[in-house]
């Protein structure tokens, strides 16, 4: 692989990401899947880096899941989005950062549709006023939360306590990066690094000391695709996608996976359990799986957050082998203790997956 070739492509797909002052909107599902990721994002950006990131309890879903499953028409989704943007303006912001990749894709799609069909934008502005009495506005800059962590990657590296380096061997950890399909596959110019060789997570991993693995099914969907998992009878497709990816990355012996989408880490993590139980196959070392992380969790780990405060005990695949490699201390006895010190319940041990 010619690294300079990738650098050339990355140079072509840079986007302007303002340094500060953002209106932040959460994802519908990430708080249940990876409960500490969003709060870690806010803590790092606000308290560790001193940025102005505002959020309000008045924002709602973007409507993305309903839109992609044909439960609501596009105009309804657009009106929901127009309300989110109007809240941003109401609170005095013009930079919009969202936690969810589905939302990011839908925001990009909506903004592009409005640009191409101004009459539709006018109609949505009218809908917004009639339904909410809010003034229509569009963000000056629209970014995904991973864009911001990418932007701050060197500031995070400067404050890091740990590196993505195997402390026993001194070698960089071998990292698989997986981008949510709706991050840049629909609009390559909207993502850092484009669609074919996205740089947003690569930049973080490199800044924090790791080494990226370029494996053949790198571009393939994780299996989260709405049509695959929402309809129960289609879930075999979802599992097949994930299985295909793991079979492809296995020869490269990855230490971990980093993702920037709500669904990807969930499916890449949970389906490893299903594959292990149904086929008896595991992809990590010595019967372990390959730990899967959100980018906020990885940022938290390198900055020295307690792994259990990052919610890593909610992962299906145990993260301990990775913590050991990075030299991060943890107390196994506290793994299943909640913030109040009470036991949150311990899952049953799978048969095959350690």
């Amino acid at each position: 692989m010619i690294y300079e070739g990738k650098q050339k492509i990355w140079a072509d797909y840079q986007k302007e990401i303002p340094e500060d002052h953002y209106f932040y909107v959460r994802s519908c599902i990430r708080q249940s899947f990876f409960p500490a990721s969003e709060v870690t994002f806010l803590d790092i950006t606000r308290n560790k880096l001193g940025k102005d990131i505002f959020e309000t309890e008045h924002h709602t879903t973007c409507g993305g899941i309903a839109y992609h499953s044909d439960a609501i028409p596009q105009e309804t989704a657009m009106t929901i989005i127009a309300r989110q943007f109007a809240l941003m303006k109401k609170y005095g912001y013009e930079n919009y950062v969202c936690s969810c990749i589905t939302s990011f894709g839908l925001y990009c799609e909506t903004m592009e549709t409005w640009r191409e069909y101004p009459e539709l934008q006018e109609k949505i502005a009218d809908n917004l006023w009639k339904s909410c009495h809010l003034e229509f506005a569009k963000p000056k800059f629209l970014v995904h939360a991973s864009d911001l962590i990418f932007k701050y990657r060197n500031q995070i590296a400067a404050k890091s306590k740990y590196k993505l380096v195997n402390v026993k061997t001194g070698e960089p950890l071998r990292v698989v990066e997986h981008i949510g399909c709706h991050y840049s596959k629909m609009f390559p110019s909207k993502g850092v690094g484009g669609a074919e060789y996205p740089y947003v997570l690569v930049g973080m991993v490199e800044a924090w000391g790791g080494q990226i693995i370029d494996y053949p099914e790198r571009r393939h969907c994780c299996g989260f695709g709405f049509r695959q998992y929402m309809i129960q009878s289609n879930r075999g497709y979802s599992l097949s996608n994930t299985h295909k990816k793991f079979e492809s990355m296995e020869p490269f012996k990855p230490d971990m996976i980093i993702t920037n989408c709500p669904g990807c880490p969930y499916f890449l993590d949970r389906w490893q359990y299903v594959i292990a139980e149904t086929e008896g196959k595991t992809y990590g070392e010595n019967g372990h799986g390959i730990p899967v992380f959100t980018y906020e969790e990885v940022a938290g780990l390198v900055m020295g957050y307690d792994p259990w405060d990052l919610g890593l005990q909610t992962h299906q695949v145990g993260v301990e082998p990775l913590l050991d490699k990075m030299g991060i201390p943890y107390d196994p006895a506290k793994k299943y203790l909640g913030k109040n010190g009470k036991n949150i319940g311990e899952p049953e041990k799978p048969h095959c997956l350690k």
């Binding site: 692989m1 053949p216 099914e217 790198r218």
Partner: protein, 333 residues
């Protein structure tokens, strides 16, 4: 007094036209931006359909240009339209007052790195048709491959690449190169991924049959993406539309048949003269049937791929035709 004719472009079209016009008694000045004459022909090893050495053809074309004033490593800096002539300032400081201009500016190869999914410039085993000719010429070596693939229509017939047109020569070139690879590496498996084979010229179909007899496998379908395996080989995903199945093939070398795009340097000259171009970016001719060598400007003519993709024989025919048109024009003037 002899008329001055300035020919811009020292490829096959410019060379052929200049040799004819100089024999007619005109004062011919040939300008070539590269250090050597020959255009793409100078970079090619052999030519379809019969494997003629490009070098031999180029030598013959250059040999005929005795009497032509050739300026290589020279570009047109500015060109102004006068009453009945063109005032052209060259980058070597020379000014030419030309009674007729011939644009033989040819084509540029599509930049294969624009098809990011094919990994040109990213994966070492991915090369272009032009690179492969350099290999055949012995300019560089490749490790003995177990399997080689050819992707037809890279940047041609591709609306996403902003070029829906066929580049005309890629199919025959791919089949010629595939045969050459099979002859060089007998044990290698060779695959051609094509949309449909456009083997329209005399003996082209024979070349295709020869390739099939040599065991080259033709897969009707487009390549979707290329990645690298843990052994550093290329994993190519494609569709086989005849069996209606997606396929994966592991290769050592993948050759991208980069198509023809309008020449950048030709565009610069055309822009100064306000010449119109068609949707494909190539120059518009005066009409589409009877005056293919004429432009909409008096005394300005075209030959070769400046007006769209052409094979080498077509290019040479056009050069001869352009010489006749220029002679007619200057005789009547």
């Amino acid at each position: 007094m002899k008329n001055n004719i300035l020919i811009i472009g020292g490829g096959p079209a410019g060379l052929e036209a200049s040799s004819i016009l100089v024999k007619m008694g005109y004062n011919v000045i040939l300008v070539e931006k590269e250090k050597e004459l020959g255009g793409h022909l100078a970079k090619w090893d052999t030519l379809f359909p019969d494997g003629l050495k490009a070098e031999d053809l180029l030598k013959s074309l250059i040999k005929k240009t005795e009497g032509v004033k050739c300026f290589t490593d020279t570009q047109v800096q500015s060109v102004n339209i006068l009453d009945k002539s063109y005032n052209v300032i060259l980058s070597n400081g020379i000014t030419v007052l030309a009674d007729a201009l011939l644009l033989a500016t040819g084509f540029d190869l599509f930049k294969a790195e624009k098809k990011e999914e094919y990994g040109y410039g990213i994966y070492e085993g991915v090369i272009t048709n032009a690179d492969l000719e350099q290999f055949f010429k012995g300019k560089f070596s490749i490790k003995k491959p177990k399997a080689v693939g050819f992707v037809h229509c890279v940047g041609s017939r591709d609306e996403k690449a902003c070029n829906p047109a066929c580049s005309k020569v890629c199919c025959a070139t791919a089949v010629k190169q595939a045969c050459h690879i099979k002859e060089t590496f007998e044990e290698a498996d060779v695959f051609c991924f094509y949309m449909d084979l456009r083997m329209f010229g005399r003996h082209y179909e024979d070349l295709y049959l020869k390739a099939q007899k040599m065991g080259i496998r033709f897969i009707r379908g487009r390549v979707s993406e290329v990645a690298e395996t843990s052994e550093g080989r290329l994993l190519v995903k494609a569709e086989d539309t005849l069996s209606s199945k997606p396929i994966k093939v592991t290769l050592d070398t993948l050759v991208l048949m980069a198509g023809m795009r309008p020449s950048e340097s030709g565009y610069m000259v055309g822009h100064q003269l306000n010449l119109s171009v068609e949707e494909d970016g190539f120059f518009s001719t005066k009409d589409t049937m009877l005056s293919l060598q004429k432009s909409n400007l008096e005394g300005l003519f075209f030959a070769g791929a400046a007006t769209g993709p052409k094979t080498l024989p077509d290019t040479l025919h056009e050069a001869r035709s352009a010489a006749m048109e220029i002679d007619n024009y200057l005789t009547k003037k």
